[in-house]
């Protein structure tokens, strides 16, 4: 299949995001998965790129056979055929020990240093919006080796500084994670509906890696509340391949519950 044909393949924005997520998972890695798109991406990765990946859910299920798309990180279908079901303290304990490579997170805001807000918008004492709170997100970002954030790309959702730091990224910049005593490597990738971002190794600031088809780096900057680093080698995000879409549609999400 050549590029021209590939360009003609129709896909939804969420299908693209699932593919971008899937490609970030390396074989043999353990992945802390949330429901929704991260799970779809993880299942796609499992079937295409990483047959030996291992999923972890904060309710305690480790390495289940994800034959069914679970609705929740904790339902019966989530720990389908898991060989072991851990207590919550052990799930996070094993992560600290070094058994969790990648964590997928969401949240209402992410800032230039990859800090995430899931607690309050506005002043904490008199919040404009009260959000869910951390859940396991703080633990995942404090203890896993690498964190991938997925979320909508809007200026108020990508502020220079989060209204409340629920979940640690690089905090206030280089060396701050280490000074704070955190053990994991911190934020690694940000998947938004506009592009794929990483972080500059020296400054720890968010940096564009690729812009999704139909978007430009300039547009992404417009939708970002801080100065996004744009290196020379940014590329267009590779589109979903026919094979990715086939597996996504036929095997991962045959009822199209998540990718529309």
């Amino acid at each position: 299949m050549n590029d021209v044909q590939a360009n003609e393949i129709q896909y939804t924005p969420r299908e693209l995001l699932a593919c971008v997520a899937a490609r970030l998972i390396k074989d043999g890695e353990s992945v802390f998965v949330g429901t929704g798109l991260p799970l779809v991406g993880a299942l796609l990765a499992h079937k295409m790129y990483a047959p030996d990946m291992m999923a972890i859910y904060e309710c305690g299920a480790v390495d289940p056979e994800p034959r069914v798309l679970p609705w929740s990180v904790s339902g019966s279908w989530t720990y389908h055929k898991a060989p072991v079901i851990l207590s919550m303290t052990s799930v996070f304990g094993h992560s600290r020990a070094g058994y969790a490579d990648v964590g997928f997170l969401g949240g209402a805001q992410i800032d230039m240093y990859g800090n995430i807000n899931a607690t309050t918008i506005g002043d904490y004492e008199n919040p404009k919006v009260r959000l869910t709170g951390s859940g396991g997100a703080n633990d995942i970002a404090s203890l896993c080796q690498r964190v991938i954030f997925m979320g909508l790309h809007l200026p108020e959702r990508f502020p220079e500084r989060c209204d409340y730091v629920t979940t640690p990224g690089y905090l206030d910049g280089p060396g701050a994670r280490e000074r704070a005593g955190l053990v994991g490597g911190g934020p690694w990738r940000v998947i938004s509906h506009l592009g794929l971002m990483g972080f500059d190794e020296e400054s720890c600031r968010m940096r564009l890696i690729s812009y999704h088809p139909g978007v430009t780096p300039e547009v992404i900057q417009q939708f970002t509340g801080f100065e996004l680093l744009v290196p020379d080698d940014v590329i267009e995000t590779p589109r979903p391949t026919a094979e990715e879409l086939r597996i996504l549609r036929e095997e991962v999400d045959p009822c199209q519950l998540f990718v529309f």
């Binding site: 207590s87 951390s134 859940g135 703080n138 633990d139």
Partner: protein, 352 residues
């Protein structure tokens, strides 16, 4: 009586409460109404079992509302449908690790309460951090030193945890003290009349909360003979000596999920979260109709079944059975069960 928060981290008070409990095998069965009346007192801090939609003691929670308990302090790890009472004076504040319904978003009454300042958030936690506070209580620890919550605003907005320097290594650590809620309500699959409780699926924090709490109410799908428990102790997560009351409440986790028995009622949950609780007025209507307007959990299920025009319990049992077939009875994959004529796709569309 001291405020619940003053009791919450008091090691000596918690030990006193447990020294007083008899270790005898006493028949602790009682109606749910009586257990809630006796063991949930106005002003108590309350922690619940399970995780999100799974194995939550929903019948007990509705009964707390029915009895118009006041000024409770919620411990939400996570909180979901158990956060609504504050709009009717039932809850004055809470300790929050998470309140929400995952992809379906926020719980409106909780959001309204916090934003209006009528529901106090006494402390912010991560799930892992709060789980450690409960673990510390179970393992007899004054506190533990962990790597969660460091560097974030959680450290600043939780007055119960502390940053410290590890005296062994000099590294920064977060100290989490043992937490002792006043009441734990734990819903299990099987319990004997003495309180030994057995579950399937994730235990989450249950092995900790039954030891951490001053008072423990066990609700169960079914009372089983104690010989049955003693013949297979491996899934028993609640030991009898921690338990004050045992209530047989079939479908006690409804509309949540009971692993191996029934799936959660997605449609009802969505209706409650998105429609019934959208405004204070609609929440009041829900409260009046389904809680105050029913005499117990079963009458509530009955009303819902009539509204839905189907036997919701039977339907959810079928859904769960389909999952369990594949997961635990070795049928290998969806739809191979043979007996049921549903296809995975149909089930998934309905359930997910």
């Amino acid at each position: 009586m001291s405020h619940a928060n003053e009791r919450l981290f008091d090691h000596a008070l918690a030990r006193e409460a447990k020294l007083k409990k008899s270790r005898a095998e006493k028949d602790k069965r009682m109606p749910l109404k009586d257990a809630i009346a006796e063991f949930v007192q106005d002003g108590d801090s309350v922690i619940e079992t399970g995780f999100a939609y799974v194995r939550g003691p929903m019948a007990a929670f509705w009964e707390i509302g029915r009895q118009r308990k006041k000024d409770l302090v919620g411990i939400f790890t996570p909180g979901g449908m158990n956060t609504a009472w504050h709009e009717f004076g039932g809850m004055e504040g809470c300790h929050v690790a998470y309140v929400g319904v995952e992809m379906r978003g926020l719980i409106a009454p909780f959001r309204r309460g916090v934003e209006a300042g009528t529901l106090k958030v006494y402390s912010e936690w991560s799930h892992g951090g709060m789980a450690l506070a409960l673990l510390a209580a179970e393992k007899g620890l004054d506190y533990v030193a962990c790597k969660s919550m460091l560097g974030t605003d959680i450290m600043k907005t939780n007055p119960y945890i502390k940053q410290a320097e590890d005296p062994f290594t000099g590294a920064p650590v977060c100290l989490v003290p043992a937490m002792y809620p006043d009441v734990a309500i734990i819903h299990v699959h099987h319990a004997d009349k003495y309180g030994n409780g057995r579950i399937w699926g994730p235990a989450v924090n249950d092995e900790s909360i039954c030891v951490a709490a001053h008072k423990v109410i066990v609700t169960c799908e079914r009372i089983v003979d104690t010989l049955d428990i003693r013949a297979n102790p491996y899934q028993v997560v609640v030991p009898h000596y921690t338990v004050d009351a045992v209530c047989e409440v079939p479908f006690g986790a409804y509309p949540g999920d009971m692993p191996g028995m029934y799936y959660f009622d997605r449609r009802l949950q969505e209706r409650v979260v998105r429609v019934e609780w959208k405004t204070p007025e609609s929440t009041r209507h829900f409260y009046d109709k389904y809680i105050l307007g029913t005499k117990d959990h079963f009458e509530m299920i009955q009303i819902i079944a009539e509204e839905e025009g189907m036997n919701v319990i039977e339907y959810l049992k079928q859904l769960e059975q389909l999952a369990c077939d594949a997961a635990y009875w070795g049928l290998g994959s969806w739809g191979v069960g043979g007996e049921r004529d549903w296809k995975y796709e149909e089930v998934a569309k309905r359930a997910i």
